[in-house]
Amino acid sequence: MRRIVFLSILIAVATLVSADDPITGDEVLRKVDENFGADSKISESEMKIMGERVTRTVKLKSWTEGTTRSFTEYLAPAREKGTKMLKLDDQLWIYTPQTDRIIRISGHMLRQSVMGSDLSYEDLMDDAKYTEMYDAEIRREDTLDNRACWVLSLQAKDENVAYHSREIWVDQERFIPLKENRFAKGGKLLKYTEIKSVSRIDGRWYPERMLFRDALKGGQGTEFVISKVSFDMEIPGHVFSKASLRK
């Protein structure tokens, strides 16, 4: 009986102590990953590419499974229609109907812009969880669009990542990174992202409208709007095959 009382007291104390403990950067990051993570995801989206001289809109549909497999088909404009991309682990292939060729994108080509947007193929490949790639530290608290945020400093665990460090503003209630600065190893700002609107889908907060801006490029950035998304749907295995690129 005494042992039960002692254990109960111990649990109660531990609970109290943990409740008072400030949240750490890694915990915030884990919650962001939990919010975004899904076994599978099917989405339809639009990229409004606001270039220096013209604005173009590209429509696409994506199928994603975990963090390693994804398939994207471009639906519009006519010039890009039928272009497909397949990502399997760390490999990326692109198919264009004009050439009827499946070409692997590798090396410096991964840094190329996707359809002229402010996103690179490397950004698209970057599906791994934050916690797998970065160590986080809370630097300060801030308010963004009337939302209380933690400002986290992320340092890459591995050299082999697109961005050596990041600075993210995470919504304290919804665990969404509302703003993000991505830096090169030398500290140069490479990319800037901002989540403009968020919606509650299937019990999770998910970005609806985002702005990506390549700091090394002219123009007003690329607005990425997710018009439809569904999580944890069954995706047939053949979707993530090279054969499906030509279909």
Binding site: R53, R56, Q98, M109, S113, V114, S117
Partner: protein, 424 residues
């Protein structure tokens, strides 16, 4: 007097042979050196005009600021209108749009899988329209190693070196991977109609030519071009006229307002050759001057040797009543004649050597393997009008200068000691 001097020079070879040989050698080297430098200069100017800047080039302001990076996203839009205007306003110049791009060539196997890839620099030029001058300007017919020039859309020329390295055969379809005008990764197919070799290491590594319409379609560059190049109709570059045209174009009001407005540059301004050639001319001028000075010293020495050897002759001539002034003038006239003969012979030999170097050239490809400048790897001389008389400057000047200095010894010759010298 000239006949008398000539007889003396021909009959007494000991007095003329060495100075003549020095003048012949010196003049020949001067002519070859000058022609060689002209050939080098001309080669750089021609290569830069043909492949890079034209005699005049029009780009958008934004494109011109980073034109080495081939920023097609900053290309000029509205090329058809601008071409009409240029053709109407400057009708002694032929204008052609061009699109440059960099990327990868991807070689597939029979099932479409990539077997080889390599980096390329591409040039889309007007290769197919009636009356186009581009194949001639780019010297494509002469550069063909195998196959033929593109005769229809979708065909390309690649360098022989690249074809060999990536095992690309004639008639094979290759995929070009590059960036479109709006920044997207772009892929398109071209069929190899021929292989080329320019003898310019920087170009022979990975140049691809295709018709500009194919490149525009692929890069989403409707009515756009990175560059519009202009060539004087007579094929020669006229610097003053080019400057006048560029100034007239750039001062018109519609070229001012935005960074996407057109700007015109001359070959010298765009290629950066102006400063390079200025420096090159200073250096070549200095080299010729140093050469003349060195030759004068050699001839002065030769004159001194001759004077010492002819010490007795001068003494007797002074003793029989010839004045020192007359003797001095005689010596200078003799030197002038030797100089003239040496210069004529040296110029002929120099021109023959230069002609050989102009036709055959010297292959420096082994040292140009990793070069990135647009320069032929066969160095050739070029005979110009100046080549015919450039040798007269050192040939005559050095001989006269040498004779004038060494001849001063005549004035120090004492006839009173002549008898003693003969007795000795």
């Amino acid at each position: 007097m000239i006949r008398f001097l000539l007889k003396g020079i021909l009959r007494d070879r000991s007095r003329s042979l060495f100075p003549s040989l020095v003048v012949i050698g010196g003049v020949m080297l001067t002519v070859v050196l000058y022609s060689w430098m002209m050939g080098f200069e001309n080669d750089i100017v021609r290569a830069n005009a043909s492949f890079r800047s034209g005699h005049l080039i029009v780009m958008s302001h934004a494109y011109s600021e980073n034109c080495d990076q081939m920023p097609n996203d900053l290309a000029y839009l509205g090329v058809a209108d601008l071409l009409s205007k240029l053709r109407a306003e400057f009708d002694d110049i032929t204008w052609s749009p061009r699109v440059r791009f960099a990327g990868l060539i991807d070689v597939p196997d029979s099932s479409g899988e990539t077997v080889a890839q390599g980096p390329i620099f591409g040039l889309g030029a007007d290769l197919l329209s009636t009356g186009t001058i581009e194949p001639e300007v780019l010297n494509l017919s002469q550069a063909i190693v195998a196959g033929r020039l593109p005769s229809s859309q979708g065909e390309t020329l690649i360098t022989e070196e690249m074809a060999r390295r990536l095992h690309i055969g004639l008639g094979q379809t290759v995929t070009i991977i590059t960036t479109g005008m709006y920044g997207s990764l772009t892929t398109f197919n071209l069929t190899v109609s021929g292989t080329i070799r320019f003898g310019v290491a920087a170009m022979d590594r990975g140049l691809v030519f295709a018709d500009i319409n194919d490149i525009r379609n692929a890069l989403d560059m409707t009515d756009a071009a990175g560059e519009i190049v202009g060539f004087f109709n007579d094929g020669r570059y006229w610097p003053a006229e080019a400057n006048r045209i560029a100034e007239a174009f750039n001062s018109s009001p519609e070229t001012q307002p935005s960074r996407f407005a057109p700007v015109m540059m001359t070959l010298m301004q765009h290629s950066g050759l102006e400063a390079t050639l200025k420096m090159y001319r200073y250096v070549s001028g200095a080299l010729v001057s140093i050469f003349v000075a060195a030759m004068s010293i050699v001839l002065w020495n030769a004159g001194l040797l001759g004077s010492i050897r002819r010490y007795g002759e001068f003494g007797i001539r002074l003793a029989i009543g010839e004045t020192q002034g007359h003797l001095y003038r005689f010596l200078i006239a003799e030197s002038a004649l030797i100089g003239l003969i040496g210069t004529v012979v040296g110029t002929i030999l120099g021109l023959l050597s230069s002609w050989y170097l102009q036709k055959v050239g010297v292959d420096i490809s082994s040292v140009m393997k990793n070069a990135s400048i647009v320069m032929s790897d066969v160095l050739r001389a070029q005979i110009t009008r100046t080549s015919y008389f450039i040798g007269f400057i050192p040939g005559l000047a050095a001989t006269l200068l040498g004779a004038m200095i060494s001849g001063l010894g005549i004035y120090r010759r004492q006839t009173s000691q002549l008898t003693k010298e003969f007795e000795a």
